[in-house]
Symmetry: C2
Subunit: 195 residues, 2 copies
């Protein structure tokens, strides 16, 4: 923890975000103080303000980065043309992506109400963009007579709620491996929308 002038700017920033991510996930945004975050990083509270203008922006940037990563993770690659294949790809992608980032996922749906109205609008827009991808897959399947879904919007929300629920119990060294979990959920999702 040697403190040399001007030598920590690129390393302390990420450490502040990491500490905030972990603490917000564990105790909640409102329950975590800037002093706690500073303590986890190993600096004094005042030093945090070199990296964020305020606590709210710190939360927003964590959530924004998470949503950007989610939307960029597939690198613009489109979902398979076959609706059932696309649905399976989406299911596996969603479970895998979210299982690897439990803290960011937890924050991103627990702390929505602690965002300022402007920040909330941005995050909500990104979330909706993601949900629309599944909705489109479902609608395509309905149009091709492959899926029996009366309301694609509601079904997409129902499936995403189910898939994200994996994070409430999944642990890396648990009874089931991630591929096993994917298999179980793929099965349920496929059957749930099938004709």
């Amino acid at each position: 923890m040697a403190r040399t002038q001007g030598s920590h700017s690129d390393i302390t920033g990420p450490r502040v975000r990491d500490a905030a991510l972990s603490l917000f996930a564990r105790h909640g945004y409102a329950a975590v103080s800037m002093r706690q975050i500073a303590g986890a990083v190993g600096v004094q509270a005042g030093a945090l303000y070199n990296y964020t203008p305020d606590k709210q922006t710190l939360l927003y940037e964590l959530m924004k980065a998470h949503m950007d990563e989610l939307l960029a993770a597939r690198g613009g690659e489109p979902w398979p043309g076959d609706p059932m294949a696309a649905l399976e790809a989406f299911t596996r992608f969603h479970i895998r992506f979210h299982a690897r980032r439990p803290e960011a996922v937890f924050i991103s749906y627990m702390e929505l109400r602690n965002l300022s109205p402007e920040n909330f609008a941005v995050i909500e827009g990104l979330r909706k963009t993601y949900e629309t991808q599944l909705q489109d897959i479902l609608q395509r399947g309905v149009a091709e007579g492959r899926f029996a879904v009366t309301d694609a919007r509601i079904t997409s929300m129902a499936l995403i709620a189910m898939l994200t629920g994996v994070n409430t119990w999944f642990r890396d060294k648990g009874r089931l491996s991630l591929p096993e979990v994917e298999e179980i959920y793929c099965d349920m999702v496929r059957k749930a929308v099938a004709v």
Copy 2:
């Protein structure tokens, strides 16, 4: 708001709990102050301590009451003997019960981490008792060859996550009525576990 000595004990108590329920749901336990709750009730902060020993107990009692209501709502009536009928009954019950209590539901799964360890253990036990009811229905269906479910525990959590997700978007005067919503979800649940 006339304040007559000794005349408000039975009415102020429920009002304190109602105000706390509403404020905790909207802003989160950690973000709500005792002064805010008192203001919503129309008393000074000190008066709240006639009804709760502290803020933590106030949260715990809201969650405890919600879980007790959930487990008592069917009045000990058992689920139908036919597994598919039982599954449908559970699905409709869950959606209906939770749709009527959005604030208590929201608190009960958002504020778990703000419970003291002892209080958490109690609530978690009640939650598990409820989940086991669905798990038992699924296992019975598997034993009778009616359901294709590889892991009843995980499937029960997946289904409950999906059903509780209704609360994130359902509004009383929205596009869909509650019976319509029940129908859509019954359909998905039935198909998801069918052989």
